[in-house]
Symmetry: C2
Subunit: 232 residues, 2 copies
Protein backbone atom coordinates (compact mmCIF):
# COMPACT_ATOMS: atom_id res chain seq x y z
CA UNK A 1 0.00 0.00 0.00
CA UNK A 2 1.42 3.38 -0.97
CA UNK A 3 1.95 5.58 2.07
CA UNK A 4 4.57 8.06 0.87
CA UNK A 5 4.96 10.17 -2.25
CA UNK A 6 8.13 11.67 -3.65
CA UNK A 7 7.91 14.66 -5.96
CA UNK A 8 10.56 15.78 -8.34
CA UNK A 9 10.64 19.60 -8.34
CA UNK A 10 11.94 21.15 -11.59
CA UNK A 11 9.26 20.77 -14.29
CA UNK A 12 7.17 18.57 -12.01
CA UNK A 13 6.10 21.08 -9.33
CA UNK A 14 7.49 24.29 -10.81
CA UNK A 15 8.70 25.48 -14.21
CA UNK A 16 12.43 25.23 -14.86
CA UNK A 17 13.26 24.17 -18.41
CA UNK A 18 11.48 27.25 -19.83
CA UNK A 19 13.97 29.37 -17.91
CA UNK A 20 16.92 27.32 -19.22
CA UNK A 21 15.44 27.56 -22.73
CA UNK A 22 15.44 31.35 -22.52
CA UNK A 23 19.14 31.27 -21.63
CA UNK A 24 19.77 28.88 -24.54
CA UNK A 25 18.05 31.29 -26.93
CA UNK A 26 20.22 34.18 -25.79
CA UNK A 27 23.29 31.96 -25.99
CA UNK A 28 22.50 31.07 -29.60
CA UNK A 29 22.01 34.78 -30.38
CA UNK A 30 25.32 35.66 -28.73
CA UNK A 31 27.13 33.19 -30.97
CA UNK A 32 25.04 33.72 -34.12
CA UNK A 33 27.89 35.72 -35.71
CA UNK A 34 30.12 32.66 -35.42
CA UNK A 35 27.98 29.54 -35.85
CA UNK A 36 24.53 28.27 -36.77
CA UNK A 37 22.15 27.44 -33.90
CA UNK A 38 22.51 23.70 -34.29
CA UNK A 39 26.30 23.80 -33.99
CA UNK A 40 26.04 26.05 -30.94
CA UNK A 41 23.56 23.76 -29.19
CA UNK A 42 25.56 20.62 -29.99
CA UNK A 43 28.76 22.16 -28.66
CA UNK A 44 27.07 23.37 -25.46
CA UNK A 45 25.58 19.94 -24.82
CA UNK A 46 28.94 18.27 -25.44
CA UNK A 47 30.60 20.63 -22.92
CA UNK A 48 27.87 19.95 -20.36
CA UNK A 49 28.29 16.20 -20.73
CA UNK A 50 32.07 16.45 -20.43
CA UNK A 51 31.76 18.55 -17.26
CA UNK A 52 28.83 16.70 -15.70
CA UNK A 53 30.73 14.31 -13.48
CA UNK A 54 32.85 17.07 -11.93
CA UNK A 55 30.40 19.98 -12.02
CA UNK A 56 27.13 18.20 -11.29
CA UNK A 57 23.71 19.63 -12.11
CA UNK A 58 22.25 23.09 -11.77
CA UNK A 59 22.52 26.65 -12.99
CA UNK A 60 26.13 27.36 -12.00
CA UNK A 61 27.43 24.25 -13.77
CA UNK A 62 25.38 25.17 -16.81
CA UNK A 63 26.71 28.75 -16.84
CA UNK A 64 30.33 27.61 -16.54
CA UNK A 65 29.79 25.21 -19.44
CA UNK A 66 28.16 27.98 -21.48
CA UNK A 67 31.14 30.31 -20.91
CA UNK A 68 33.57 27.54 -21.81
CA UNK A 69 31.60 26.71 -24.97
CA UNK A 70 31.48 30.36 -26.05
CA UNK A 71 35.26 30.62 -25.71
CA UNK A 72 35.82 27.31 -27.53
CA UNK A 73 33.44 28.06 -30.38
CA UNK A 74 35.14 31.38 -31.10
CA UNK A 75 38.69 30.07 -30.65
CA UNK A 76 39.04 32.43 -27.75
CA UNK A 77 38.20 35.53 -29.81
CA UNK A 78 34.79 36.43 -28.36
CA UNK A 79 35.06 39.81 -26.59
CA UNK A 80 35.12 39.15 -22.84
CA UNK A 81 32.63 41.96 -22.51
CA UNK A 82 30.05 39.73 -24.23
CA UNK A 83 30.67 36.94 -21.75
CA UNK A 84 29.29 39.14 -18.99
CA UNK A 85 25.80 38.32 -20.29
CA UNK A 86 26.39 34.64 -19.52
CA UNK A 87 27.14 35.35 -15.86
CA UNK A 88 24.35 37.88 -15.61
CA UNK A 89 21.99 35.31 -17.13
CA UNK A 90 22.97 32.79 -14.46
CA UNK A 91 22.12 35.30 -11.75
CA UNK A 92 18.77 35.94 -13.42
CA UNK A 93 18.01 32.22 -13.50
CA UNK A 94 18.91 31.83 -9.83
CA UNK A 95 16.76 34.81 -8.88
CA UNK A 96 13.83 33.88 -11.12
CA UNK A 97 10.50 33.69 -9.26
CA UNK A 98 9.09 30.22 -8.66
CA UNK A 99 6.17 29.52 -10.97
CA UNK A 100 4.20 26.45 -9.95
CA UNK A 101 2.82 24.12 -12.58
CA UNK A 102 -0.90 24.02 -13.07
CA UNK A 103 -2.46 21.94 -10.31
CA UNK A 104 0.69 21.63 -8.19
CA UNK A 105 -0.49 23.61 -5.17
CA UNK A 106 -3.95 22.00 -5.05
CA UNK A 107 -2.71 18.46 -5.64
CA UNK A 108 0.03 18.64 -3.01
CA UNK A 109 -2.39 20.21 -0.50
CA UNK A 110 -5.02 17.54 -1.18
CA UNK A 111 -2.60 14.62 -0.77
CA UNK A 112 -0.82 15.94 2.34
CA UNK A 113 -3.52 14.60 4.68
CA UNK A 114 -3.21 10.98 3.51
CA UNK A 115 0.44 10.59 2.46
CA UNK A 116 3.92 11.44 3.66
CA UNK A 117 5.27 13.88 1.08
CA UNK A 118 8.94 14.44 0.17
CA UNK A 119 10.45 16.62 -2.51
CA UNK A 120 13.49 14.92 -4.04
CA UNK A 121 15.42 17.12 -6.44
CA UNK A 122 18.88 17.43 -7.90
CA UNK A 123 20.77 20.60 -8.78
CA UNK A 124 22.36 23.46 -6.88
CA UNK A 125 21.74 22.90 -3.17
CA UNK A 126 21.12 26.53 -2.32
CA UNK A 127 19.01 27.24 -5.41
CA UNK A 128 16.74 24.24 -4.92
CA UNK A 129 16.28 24.98 -1.22
CA UNK A 130 15.43 28.58 -2.01
CA UNK A 131 12.86 27.59 -4.64
CA UNK A 132 11.29 25.11 -2.25
CA UNK A 133 10.98 27.78 0.46
CA UNK A 134 9.48 30.26 -1.99
CA UNK A 135 7.15 27.74 -3.60
CA UNK A 136 4.69 27.84 -0.72
CA UNK A 137 4.68 24.03 -0.73
CA UNK A 138 6.75 23.65 2.45
CA UNK A 139 3.62 23.93 4.59
CA UNK A 140 2.47 20.59 3.15
CA UNK A 141 5.81 18.94 2.44
CA UNK A 142 8.01 18.51 5.52
CA UNK A 143 11.13 17.40 3.65
CA UNK A 144 13.07 18.64 0.64
CA UNK A 145 16.03 16.40 -0.14
CA UNK A 146 18.48 17.92 -2.60
CA UNK A 147 20.67 15.15 -3.98
CA UNK A 148 23.68 15.21 -6.27
CA UNK A 149 22.45 12.34 -8.47
CA UNK A 150 19.14 10.52 -8.82
CA UNK A 151 20.16 6.91 -9.15
CA UNK A 152 19.20 3.69 -7.39
CA UNK A 153 21.72 4.23 -4.59
CA UNK A 154 20.45 7.73 -3.87
CA UNK A 155 16.80 6.69 -3.73
CA UNK A 156 17.66 3.70 -1.55
CA UNK A 157 19.48 6.04 0.86
CA UNK A 158 16.68 8.62 0.93
CA UNK A 159 14.00 5.96 1.52
CA UNK A 160 16.08 4.31 4.25
CA UNK A 161 16.58 7.63 6.01
CA UNK A 162 12.84 8.29 5.98
CA UNK A 163 12.15 4.63 6.89
CA UNK A 164 9.95 4.06 3.85
CA UNK A 165 9.84 0.65 2.14
CA UNK A 166 10.19 1.02 -1.65
CA UNK A 167 6.93 -0.86 -2.28
CA UNK A 168 5.08 1.74 -0.19
CA UNK A 169 6.52 4.61 -2.23
CA UNK A 170 5.46 6.36 -5.42
CA UNK A 171 7.76 8.87 -7.13
CA UNK A 172 6.25 11.56 -9.36
CA UNK A 173 8.37 13.26 -12.00
CA UNK A 174 8.99 14.35 -15.56
CA UNK A 175 12.31 12.57 -16.08
CA UNK A 176 12.15 8.91 -17.01
CA UNK A 177 15.87 8.59 -16.27
CA UNK A 178 15.98 10.34 -12.91
CA UNK A 179 12.50 10.10 -11.41
CA UNK A 180 10.99 6.88 -12.74
CA UNK A 181 13.42 4.13 -13.74
CA UNK A 182 15.49 4.02 -10.50
CA UNK A 183 12.43 3.78 -8.28
CA UNK A 184 10.89 1.04 -10.45
CA UNK A 185 14.13 -0.91 -10.15
CA UNK A 186 13.97 -0.60 -6.38
CA UNK A 187 10.43 -2.02 -6.39
CA UNK A 188 8.50 1.22 -5.98
CA UNK A 189 5.94 2.95 -8.16
CA UNK A 190 6.65 5.71 -10.65
CA UNK A 191 4.17 8.27 -12.00
CA UNK A 192 5.60 9.88 -15.11
CA UNK A 193 4.18 13.28 -16.05
CA UNK A 194 5.97 14.62 -19.13
CA UNK A 195 6.76 18.33 -19.42
CA UNK A 196 6.70 19.95 -22.88
CA UNK A 197 10.47 20.61 -22.78
CA UNK A 198 13.14 18.20 -21.57
CA UNK A 199 16.94 18.32 -21.40
CA UNK A 200 18.29 15.66 -23.76
CA UNK A 201 20.26 14.09 -20.89
CA UNK A 202 17.03 13.08 -19.12
CA UNK A 203 15.25 11.81 -22.18
CA UNK A 204 15.28 7.99 -22.13
CA UNK A 205 12.60 5.48 -23.21
CA UNK A 206 9.74 4.38 -20.98
CA UNK A 207 9.91 0.97 -19.30
CA UNK A 208 8.15 -1.91 -21.02
CA UNK A 209 5.52 -3.98 -19.21
CA UNK A 210 6.04 -2.71 -15.69
CA UNK A 211 2.79 -2.70 -13.67
CA UNK A 212 4.26 -0.15 -11.25
CA UNK A 213 4.81 2.39 -14.05
CA UNK A 214 2.05 4.94 -14.55
CA UNK A 215 1.87 7.73 -17.12
CA UNK A 216 -0.25 10.79 -16.36
CA UNK A 217 -1.07 13.85 -18.43
CA UNK A 218 -0.79 16.25 -15.48
CA UNK A 219 -0.59 16.47 -11.69
CA UNK A 220 -4.35 16.75 -11.31
CA UNK A 221 -4.64 13.10 -12.34
CA UNK A 222 -2.50 11.92 -9.43
CA UNK A 223 -5.22 11.59 -6.73
CA UNK A 224 -7.32 9.38 -9.04
CA UNK A 225 -4.30 7.17 -9.79
CA UNK A 226 -3.66 6.77 -6.06
CA UNK A 227 -7.33 5.93 -5.45
CA UNK A 228 -7.16 3.24 -8.16
CA UNK A 229 -3.99 1.77 -6.64
CA UNK A 230 -5.59 1.72 -3.17
CA UNK A 231 -8.66 -0.19 -4.40
CA UNK A 232 -6.69 -2.58 -6.65
CA UNK B 1 27.13 14.63 28.49
CA UNK B 2 28.50 14.85 24.99
CA UNK B 3 27.38 11.89 22.88
CA UNK B 4 27.71 13.21 19.34
CA UNK B 5 30.42 15.09 17.46
CA UNK B 6 30.06 17.20 14.35
CA UNK B 7 33.07 17.80 12.15
CA UNK B 8 33.44 20.58 9.67
CA UNK B 9 35.24 19.20 6.61
CA UNK B 10 37.21 21.83 4.62
CA UNK B 11 40.34 22.78 6.58
CA UNK B 12 39.17 20.77 9.58
CA UNK B 13 39.40 17.21 8.23
CA UNK B 14 41.04 17.86 4.86
CA UNK B 15 42.95 20.71 3.23
CA UNK B 16 40.92 23.14 1.15
CA UNK B 17 42.05 26.74 1.52
CA UNK B 18 45.52 25.87 0.21
CA UNK B 19 43.84 24.79 -3.04
CA UNK B 20 41.83 28.02 -3.21
CA UNK B 21 45.00 29.97 -2.44
CA UNK B 22 46.75 28.41 -5.42
CA UNK B 23 43.86 29.55 -7.66
CA UNK B 24 44.08 33.04 -6.12
CA UNK B 25 47.79 33.18 -6.93
CA UNK B 26 47.18 32.28 -10.56
CA UNK B 27 44.30 34.77 -10.68
CA UNK B 28 46.56 37.57 -9.47
CA UNK B 29 49.16 36.58 -12.07
CA UNK B 30 46.53 36.57 -14.82
CA UNK B 31 45.59 40.14 -13.96
CA UNK B 32 49.07 41.41 -13.07
CA UNK B 33 49.27 43.32 -16.38
CA UNK B 34 46.21 45.32 -15.33
CA UNK B 35 46.26 45.75 -11.55
CA UNK B 36 48.33 45.26 -8.41
CA UNK B 37 47.62 42.13 -6.33
CA UNK B 38 45.79 43.99 -3.57
CA UNK B 39 43.31 45.57 -5.99
CA UNK B 40 42.73 42.21 -7.64
CA UNK B 41 42.05 40.46 -4.34
CA UNK B 42 39.79 43.23 -3.07
CA UNK B 43 37.75 43.17 -6.28
CA UNK B 44 37.41 39.37 -6.23
CA UNK B 45 36.27 39.40 -2.62
CA UNK B 46 33.75 42.15 -3.36
CA UNK B 47 32.33 40.12 -6.26
CA UNK B 48 32.12 37.00 -4.09
CA UNK B 49 30.24 38.87 -1.38
CA UNK B 50 27.84 40.39 -3.91
CA UNK B 51 27.12 36.97 -5.41
CA UNK B 52 27.07 34.98 -2.17
CA UNK B 53 23.36 35.05 -1.47
CA UNK B 54 22.46 33.85 -4.97
CA UNK B 55 25.45 31.65 -5.76
CA UNK B 56 26.16 30.13 -2.36
CA UNK B 57 29.48 28.56 -1.38
CA UNK B 58 31.86 26.30 -3.23
CA UNK B 59 34.20 26.08 -6.18
CA UNK B 60 31.71 26.82 -8.98
CA UNK B 61 30.47 30.00 -7.29
CA UNK B 62 34.05 31.05 -6.73
CA UNK B 63 35.00 30.42 -10.37
CA UNK B 64 32.02 32.37 -11.69
CA UNK B 65 32.96 35.29 -9.43
CA UNK B 66 36.58 35.08 -10.59
CA UNK B 67 35.52 35.22 -14.26
CA UNK B 68 33.22 38.16 -13.55
CA UNK B 69 35.97 39.98 -11.65
CA UNK B 70 38.49 39.44 -14.45
CA UNK B 71 36.06 40.93 -16.98
CA UNK B 72 35.19 43.85 -14.69
CA UNK B 73 38.79 44.66 -13.77
CA UNK B 74 39.80 44.85 -17.44
CA UNK B 75 36.69 46.71 -18.58
CA UNK B 76 35.84 43.71 -20.70
CA UNK B 77 39.14 43.78 -22.60
CA UNK B 78 40.82 40.64 -21.25
CA UNK B 79 41.22 38.13 -24.09
CA UNK B 80 38.57 35.44 -23.68
CA UNK B 81 41.28 32.94 -24.37
CA UNK B 82 42.86 33.84 -21.02
CA UNK B 83 39.58 33.21 -19.19
CA UNK B 84 39.82 29.53 -20.12
CA UNK B 85 42.37 29.16 -17.34
CA UNK B 86 39.73 30.19 -14.79
CA UNK B 87 37.37 27.41 -15.86
CA UNK B 88 40.19 24.92 -16.15
CA UNK B 89 41.32 25.90 -12.66
CA UNK B 90 37.83 25.20 -11.30
CA UNK B 91 37.95 21.72 -12.80
CA UNK B 92 41.35 21.16 -11.22
CA UNK B 93 40.05 22.22 -7.82
CA UNK B 94 37.04 19.90 -8.11
CA UNK B 95 39.26 17.00 -9.17
CA UNK B 96 42.00 17.68 -6.61
CA UNK B 97 42.82 14.65 -4.42
CA UNK B 98 41.62 14.77 -0.84
CA UNK B 99 44.52 15.42 1.55
CA UNK B 100 43.60 14.79 5.17
CA UNK B 101 44.92 17.06 7.88
CA UNK B 102 47.48 15.66 10.25
CA UNK B 103 45.73 13.48 12.82
CA UNK B 104 42.33 13.46 11.10
CA UNK B 105 42.17 9.77 10.23
CA UNK B 106 43.44 8.56 13.62
CA UNK B 107 41.31 10.94 15.68
CA UNK B 108 38.11 10.14 13.81
CA UNK B 109 38.81 6.41 14.03
CA UNK B 110 39.57 6.62 17.76
CA UNK B 111 36.38 8.56 18.57
CA UNK B 112 34.02 6.51 16.41
CA UNK B 113 33.60 3.83 19.08
CA UNK B 114 32.35 6.24 21.76
CA UNK B 115 30.55 8.98 19.86
CA UNK B 116 28.07 9.43 17.02
CA UNK B 117 30.00 11.24 14.30
CA UNK B 118 28.56 13.54 11.63
CA UNK B 119 30.35 15.58 9.01
CA UNK B 120 28.57 18.92 8.50
CA UNK B 121 29.92 20.95 5.61
CA UNK B 122 28.83 23.70 3.27
CA UNK B 123 29.73 24.13 -0.37
CA UNK B 124 28.97 22.35 -3.64
CA UNK B 125 26.82 19.33 -2.86
CA UNK B 126 28.48 17.01 -5.36
CA UNK B 127 32.01 18.17 -4.61
CA UNK B 128 31.65 17.77 -0.85
CA UNK B 129 30.03 14.34 -1.19
CA UNK B 130 32.81 13.22 -3.50
CA UNK B 131 35.53 14.42 -1.12
CA UNK B 132 33.81 12.66 1.78
CA UNK B 133 33.66 9.39 -0.17
CA UNK B 134 37.30 9.68 -1.19
CA UNK B 135 38.51 10.74 2.26
CA UNK B 136 38.30 7.23 3.66
CA UNK B 137 36.44 8.63 6.68
CA UNK B 138 33.05 7.28 5.66
CA UNK B 139 33.80 3.95 7.33
CA UNK B 140 33.76 5.74 10.70
CA UNK B 141 31.31 8.56 9.97
CA UNK B 142 27.85 7.35 8.92
CA UNK B 143 26.51 10.78 7.90
CA UNK B 144 27.77 13.65 5.77
CA UNK B 145 25.32 16.53 5.73
CA UNK B 146 26.06 19.11 3.05
CA UNK B 147 24.19 22.31 3.91
CA UNK B 148 23.77 25.57 2.05
CA UNK B 149 24.47 27.77 5.09
CA UNK B 150 25.83 27.08 8.56
CA UNK B 151 23.62 29.18 10.78
CA UNK B 152 21.56 28.49 13.90
CA UNK B 153 18.55 27.31 11.90
CA UNK B 154 20.62 24.84 9.90
CA UNK B 155 22.27 23.32 12.96
CA UNK B 156 18.93 23.12 14.75
CA UNK B 157 17.48 21.24 11.77
CA UNK B 158 20.45 18.88 11.45
CA UNK B 159 20.44 18.08 15.19
CA UNK B 160 16.67 17.55 15.18
CA UNK B 161 16.91 15.17 12.24
CA UNK B 162 19.58 13.13 14.01
CA UNK B 163 17.65 13.42 17.31
CA UNK B 164 20.59 14.96 19.15
CA UNK B 165 20.04 17.51 21.93
CA UNK B 166 22.31 20.56 21.46
CA UNK B 167 23.80 20.15 24.96
CA UNK B 168 24.94 16.63 24.01
CA UNK B 169 26.71 17.88 20.89
CA UNK B 170 30.19 19.24 20.21
CA UNK B 171 31.04 20.78 16.84
CA UNK B 172 34.66 20.84 15.65
CA UNK B 173 35.80 23.31 13.04
CA UNK B 174 38.13 26.04 11.85
CA UNK B 175 35.51 28.73 11.23
CA UNK B 176 34.38 30.74 14.22
CA UNK B 177 31.49 32.09 12.18
CA UNK B 178 30.22 28.85 10.70
CA UNK B 179 31.33 26.05 13.00
CA UNK B 180 31.47 27.53 16.49
CA UNK B 181 29.24 30.54 17.19
CA UNK B 182 25.92 29.03 15.95
CA UNK B 183 26.34 25.86 18.00
CA UNK B 184 27.27 27.83 21.13
CA UNK B 185 24.11 29.91 20.67
CA UNK B 186 22.06 26.72 20.48
CA UNK B 187 23.56 25.53 23.77
CA UNK B 188 26.10 23.07 22.39
CA UNK B 189 29.88 22.90 22.62
CA UNK B 190 32.32 24.20 20.03
CA UNK B 191 35.94 23.11 19.56
CA UNK B 192 37.76 25.67 17.46
CA UNK B 193 40.87 24.47 15.63
CA UNK B 194 42.31 27.27 13.53
CA UNK B 195 43.83 26.53 10.12
CA UNK B 196 46.78 28.64 8.91
CA UNK B 197 44.71 30.14 6.08
CA UNK B 198 41.13 31.37 6.32
CA UNK B 199 38.74 33.07 3.89
CA UNK B 200 38.04 36.58 5.19
CA UNK B 201 34.30 35.85 5.20
CA UNK B 202 34.71 33.23 7.94
CA UNK B 203 37.06 35.27 10.09
CA UNK B 204 35.14 36.66 13.07
CA UNK B 205 36.21 37.14 16.72
CA UNK B 206 36.07 34.37 19.33
CA UNK B 207 33.25 34.38 21.88
CA UNK B 208 33.98 35.94 25.24
CA UNK B 209 33.47 33.98 28.47
CA UNK B 210 31.62 30.97 27.13
CA UNK B 211 32.41 27.80 29.09
CA UNK B 212 31.28 25.67 26.13
CA UNK B 213 33.91 27.21 23.83
CA UNK B 214 37.17 25.32 23.51
CA UNK B 215 40.23 26.23 21.46
CA UNK B 216 42.58 23.48 20.34
CA UNK B 217 45.85 23.56 18.44
CA UNK B 218 45.05 20.49 16.35
CA UNK B 219 42.74 17.52 16.00
CA UNK B 220 44.97 15.26 18.08
CA UNK B 221 43.98 17.29 21.16
CA UNK B 222 40.30 16.47 20.74
CA UNK B 223 40.16 13.13 22.63
CA UNK B 224 41.79 14.73 25.68
CA UNK B 225 39.30 17.62 25.62
CA UNK B 226 36.42 15.14 25.47
CA UNK B 227 37.91 13.16 28.38
CA UNK B 228 38.14 16.37 30.43
CA UNK B 229 34.53 17.27 29.64
CA UNK B 230 33.39 13.76 30.61
CA UNK B 231 35.08 13.94 33.99
CA UNK B 232 34.06 17.54 34.72
Amino acid sequence: MITALGFDADDTLWHSETIFEDYHRRFRELLARYHDPKTVEAALYATEMRNLDLFGYGVKSFALSAIETAIDLTNGTIPADELRALIHGAREMLAHPVELLDGAAETVAALAADYRLIVITKGDLRHQERKFQRSGLATHVPHCDVVSEKDNATYARVLARHQIAPEDFLMVGNSMRSDILPILELGGHGAYIPYPLIWAHENVPAPVDCPRFHALANLRELPALLARLRSA
